[in-house]
């Protein structure tokens, strides 16, 4: 797939929150709620240094899946999607490296800008690790009914 099929990309771009599932150190799946930010062909999200357990898991095993399942998070858009991804974490600049996402993030959650203003009081909230997801395969349910068979899209390089 080019990156993500248009309806899937739109769903991810709209979703206020989705579920990131990682493989824990004991091999058990662990699911975290995350706000996805679509940037080009990839999905980005950030984790504060206070909540870094997921980052530890990703560094140990970069295989993850990300889903958008909560209708409350997508407003009027129907549809659900699960995307199998390869994850990469960027810890080069926790202080400012993630700030390029602020514009897109604040569109989903305007209070983010107020969060930034609270740096003096809660500095570690703004030391954030960037998580970059490269989609491999997507399962898409256009009407959100997961009891039906999903539409499956596979990334070109994976299909090869």
């Amino acid at each position: 797939m080019p990156a993500l099929p248009y309806p899937v990309a739109r769903l991810v771009d709209t979703a206020l929150v989705g579920e990131l599932t990682v493989v824990g150190v004991d091999g058990r799946p662990i699911t975290y709620p995350m706000t996805p930010l679509l940037w080009g062909e990839r999905i980005f999200m950030t984790s504060s240094a206070l909540d870094s357990a997921k980052v530890t898991h990703i560094k140990a095993n970069p295989r993850v899946s990300f889903s958008v399942t909560n209708p409350e998070a997508t407003g009027t858009m129907a549809g659900r999607v699960t995307i199998q991804c390869d994850a990469r974490v960027s810890e080069d600049d926790l202080h400012e490296g993630w700030e390029r996402l602020i514009q897109g993030w604040s569109k989903k959650d305007p209070s983010v800008r107020a969060l930034i203003a609270s740096r003096l009081a809660f500095p570690l909230l703004l030391e954030r690790i960037l998580i970059e997801l490269t989609p491999r395969k997507a399962w898409y349910w256009p009407d959100g009914d997961t009891e039906k068979a999903p539409q499956i899209t596979v990334a070109a390089e994976v299909a090869r």
């Binding site: 929150v17 579920e19 699911t31 980005f44 870094s52 993850v64 990300f66 570690l124 909230l125």
Partner: protein, 557 residues
């Protein structure tokens, strides 16, 4: 109660509520925050309407605008699941395999009942985790979860899976609140016709409405510090969180508390001025030296409290209590703070020597010596006044008579005055009350660190009585001083602050055991000290004006 019956009761309660507001504390049993970390309670998504208001109040009380409460990070979050949880971090839990109290699993199941669909997560054959929304059935009587194989996927019995319910409430202006996140884990048991049964053995609950955001932040700090330490090891150089240097100094020195120094020093200078002594240069040096001593004391206090474990043991620090937390936030090291404290003391020492050179006197040397002992001995071994229940008295003396008489003595070239001594008493009492009230929310941490402050030693009733007595003595001294003609009548303006004292008393009675709810009271108490101090300065300034400009001296004093 029998676990199954208890779960059934919880589930009935949960099912009786509106699904949209389901995981709120009002309809759900609230797990104790004191539960052992093995419970895997973690949180995620967003706050509830009531939660958001709750958080807003707390954040506003903490000195931030209510809108900040809505803030959350890129993960859905103001503080996400791994952080906050009150309970444990999965990464820790996963390696230690803790015993999970049955009540937590029951609680998690009861909360999941409210979700129409939950996310089923498992590890697929290709090694990638998968997650798909599915409907589930929870039987409150046997505590089992049943569901069908998701269409288009394959599951096998014996697989370890997770079921997760996440809740948010979108807001009309954008963003969301009411985050909650519940996960249960268990091993799948295959049943005929593609059905599966899960008997959950672990659970993770996070509902941000159940933990005040500042408390959640503080609880996550040790993990964040570990993260930075590990990252530093990985990269081969020290990685630290950053804060603009000016902001860092502002926070590390707790500069806003300088009002406690400025009040007595300015009052001392004004009293001296009223008696005809005033030199602008030495007045300015006095103010600078006193401020530097105070900043040095604040920083040194953080160093020694950290070394003693008091600041780390404090789980509910506020902007008024629990220290600056810059060390706990990994912004600076203990060593760097020690250097900063020493720098403040050295700078104040140099200014002190200048003052001694310009206005030296035996009285000033004595006052400086007492001030030095109090400042250094406040938290530093072997004196450690604050650990022995003497911190309040030391503070009263240091920020009352010492500061005020010191400033006075510089101007008067060593002569002391009974009026200056008397007027220093209310200032000292009220600044001691700042410390005293601010120690109230620190009781638990102070107790763990064997820091035997008066609120640690005394009961609530006795602490409040102590406050009342100190405040009553404050105003009594002012009235008595004016009545006997020692102080100008204009200092009676300070009585205008009595309503603040009454409000502070009420706040203590009402919020004594709620650290974050007590914050407005702590702010009010600081305002009480500042208001009385400013009114006393103003009273003396009026007396000076009266004396110098209006010539009404016989009337006003």
């Amino acid at each position: 109660m029998n676990p199954s019956r208890r779960l059934a009761a919880i589930a009935r309660r949960a099912m009786g509520g509106d699904a949209s507001t389901q995981p709120t504390p009002s309809t759900q049993p609230t797990p104790s925050m004191d539960e052992p970390p093995s419970t895997d309670r973690q949180a995620s998504t967003e706050p509830t309407p009531s939660a958001r208001r709750h958080d807003a109040a707390q954040i506003a009380a903490a000195g931030f605008s209510p809108v900040e409460v809505a803030s959350r990070g890129g993960e859905a979050p103001w503080l996400g699941p791994d952080g906050i949880s009150s309970k444990s971090d999965l990464s820790d839990a996963a390696t230690t395999e803790p015993e999970v109290p049955l009540s937590v699993v029951e609680d998690a199941l009861a909360r999941l009942v409210a979700f129409e669909d939950v996310v089923l997560s498992w590890i697929a054959e290709d090694g990638y985790p998968m997650n798909v929304a599915i409907p589930i059935e929870i039987n409150p009587h046997d505590g089992l979860v049943r569901f069908d194989t998701p269409t288009g996927f394959q599951l096998a019995g014996g697989a370890e899976v997770a079921l997760t319910g996440s809740h948010i409430r979108p807001l009309s202006g954008g963003g969301f609140d009411e985050r909650s996140h519940i996960t249960i884990w268990g091993t799948l048991v295959a049943r005929p016709r593609g059905r599966f049964v899960l008997h959950p053995g672990r659970a993770w609950i996070w509902d941000e409405s159940e933990t005040p955001p500042p408390a959640a932040y503080e609880r996550s700090l040790p993990k964040a510090r570990r993260y930075f330490e590990e990252l530093s090891r990985e990269k081969g150089f020290r990685v630290r969180p950053r804060l603009d240097l000016r902001l860092l100094l502002f926070r590390a020195t707790r500069a806003p508390f300088l009002s406690a120094t400025l009040v007595p020093v300015l009052l001392g200078l004004t009293v001296a001025g009223q008696m005809g002594f005033f030199d602008p240069l030495t007045a300015a040096i006095t103010i600078a030296a006193a401020c530097l001593v105070h900043l040095g004391l604040n920083v040194a206090n953080d160093v020694f409290d950290t070394l003693a474990g008091a600041d780390d043991a404090n789980a509910s620090p506020t902007k008024f209590s629990g220290g600056s937390r810059v060390i706990q936030n990994a912004l600076v090291s203990v060593g760097q703070m020690s250097v900063l404290a020493a720098a403040c003391y050295v700078a104040s020492g140099i200014l002190g020597l200048v003052l001694l050179e310009l206005r030296g006197s035996v009285a000033l040397v004595g006052i400086v010596a007492v001030g030095l002992v109090i400042s250094l001995g406040y938290t530093m071994p072997p004196l450690k006044f604050v650990y022995r229940g003497l911190g309040e008295i030391a503070t009263a003396i240091g920020f009352g008579p010492v500061m005020l008489l010191g400033a006075f003595a510089v101007q008067s070239r060593g002569s002391l005055s009974l009026a200056a001594t008397v007027v220093s008493i209310p200032v000292g009492l009220l600044v001691a009350m700042i410390l005293y009230v601010n120690e109230i929310p620190d009781r638990e941490g102070d107790t763990k660190a064997d820091k035997r402050t008066l609120p640690v030693r005394w009961s609530k009733a006795r602490v409040i009585l102590g406050f009342d007595v100190a405040v009553a003595a404050t105003f009594a001294v002012i009235v008595a001083g004016a009545a006997v003609g020692l102080l100008p009548l204009t200092v009676l303006l300070a009585l205008l602050a009595i309503p603040l004292a009454r409000e502070t008393h009420r706040g203590l009675v009402r919020f004594y055991d709620s650290p974050y709810a007590l914050m407005p009271t702590m702010a009010l108490n600081i305002r009480l000290h500042l208001t009385v101090g400013v009114l006393l300065v103003f009273g003396y300034a009026a007396a000076i004006a009266d004396q110098r400009l209006l010539g009404l001296r016989p009337f006003l004093w």
